[in-house]
Symmetry: C2
């Protein structure tokens, strides 16, 4: 199965600004991308990065400078197009900031029956999907999970959903770092450990704090 | 399997104060409890509410005024105690605010192998667990998921984890209402619909807004 991992090289992860500098956000985004690529590979598939600019990773890269939805739809056009040999094969799109993704969680997504199978993200997002339906296209704006269900229904697709906390957890905001420290064990977790982040409990709520570095 | 659902009758869901009045929070908490009890029943088990005070529900109720961890540990003592007939049976504890819980998600938890099986919650919490290990006890303060793994390890339990977005989603804060409106279809969802809540997209982030009522 072709597995596309979209990645934005310019100013990634701006909502992590309260916790990480621009250089750190850049390095952390690349650590999460590498974790996702590893997990896809260990799940038995060959990932391809769909990047807005050049990026050095252990996977083939397609560069498309357009916004996310346009770039993904162009890739779906290419995959399912008349001239394509991929028209009978499914294609998957997995976000690059799923720092908790494991081969097992992705394997459940890839194995779930359905013409279009979604892994919903928190806050109405679509963190990953598999499409076996040539006419399905994406629109990531807003409550994309509900919109994508509607789009899939409109093209007559049977919809599947995989219920995964790991795949629902995209890392966008400082509060999301709690999840990486609790459940992550890859490069993203190592990055946060090395940067001095620790779990902290205040008033019964768990947050992250950062040690002063020497 | 005995399935305990802890419930606090006094001032429930205070962190929803920005979105709901005290009376509404009370009604919403009971709607979520009823949804959880339904899901446990449809998963093939008989739930029992472990409540801090009297509550009218379609399930047996045990009243224990003590804080959550003490009340759950007393129930584990009673279940696994020498005089108990339950010592060979597993016991489950499922939080009452898992508004997205479905029979399928709970069924995965109940079926997952392990002496102690956890459904982690967002923010380091423990949203549900099954214990087949008589010596396992709880401590819900702080990053309870990590603490519970340690406690389970200390008593020699083989640990299982169920990866479920639905079970990871406890509804504590206004942002969590997005999940109920996106993925819920029970009484909690009906409550929010009737109260005028709708999804709203602002700057690419999805939140809830509330219609003015006539």
């Amino acid at each position: 199965m072709q597995v596309l991992v979209p990645f934005a090289t310019d100013a990634p992860k701006t909502r992590l600004e309260p916790a990480l500098s621009a250089d750190e956000r850049r390095a952390f985004a690349r650590a999460m991308l590498a974790d996702v690529l590893d997990a896809v590979g260990e799940a038995g598939h060959d990932p391809r990065v769909l990047s807005t600019g050049p990026v050095s990773v252990e996977a083939p890269v397609t560069i498309d400078e357009r916004p996310l939805s346009e770039a993904v739809n162009a890739a779906l056009d290419a995959h399912f197009g008349e001239d394509s040999s991929g028209a009978d094969d499914p294609v998957a799109v997995v976000m690059a900031d799923l720092a908790l993704a494991t081969p097992g969680a992705l394997g459940r997504l890839f194995a779930e029956p359905g013409d279009v199978v979604f892994a919903p993200g928190r806050g109405g997002g679509t963190n990953a999907f598999v499409s076996r339906q040539p006419d399905f296209r994406v629109d990531y704006h807003g409550t994309s999970y509900l919109d994508h269900r509607e789009i899939a229904g409109d093209v007559g697709a049977e919809i599947g959903v995989v219920d995964s906390f790991r795949l629902a957890t995209d890392v966008d905001e400082p509060a999301d770092l709690v999840e990486v420290l609790c459940h992550g064990d890859g490069r993203a977790r190592e990055f946060l450990d090395a940067a001095g982040f620790e779990l902290e409990t205040t008033d019964g709520r768990v947050t992250v704090s950062r040690r002063d570095r020497p």
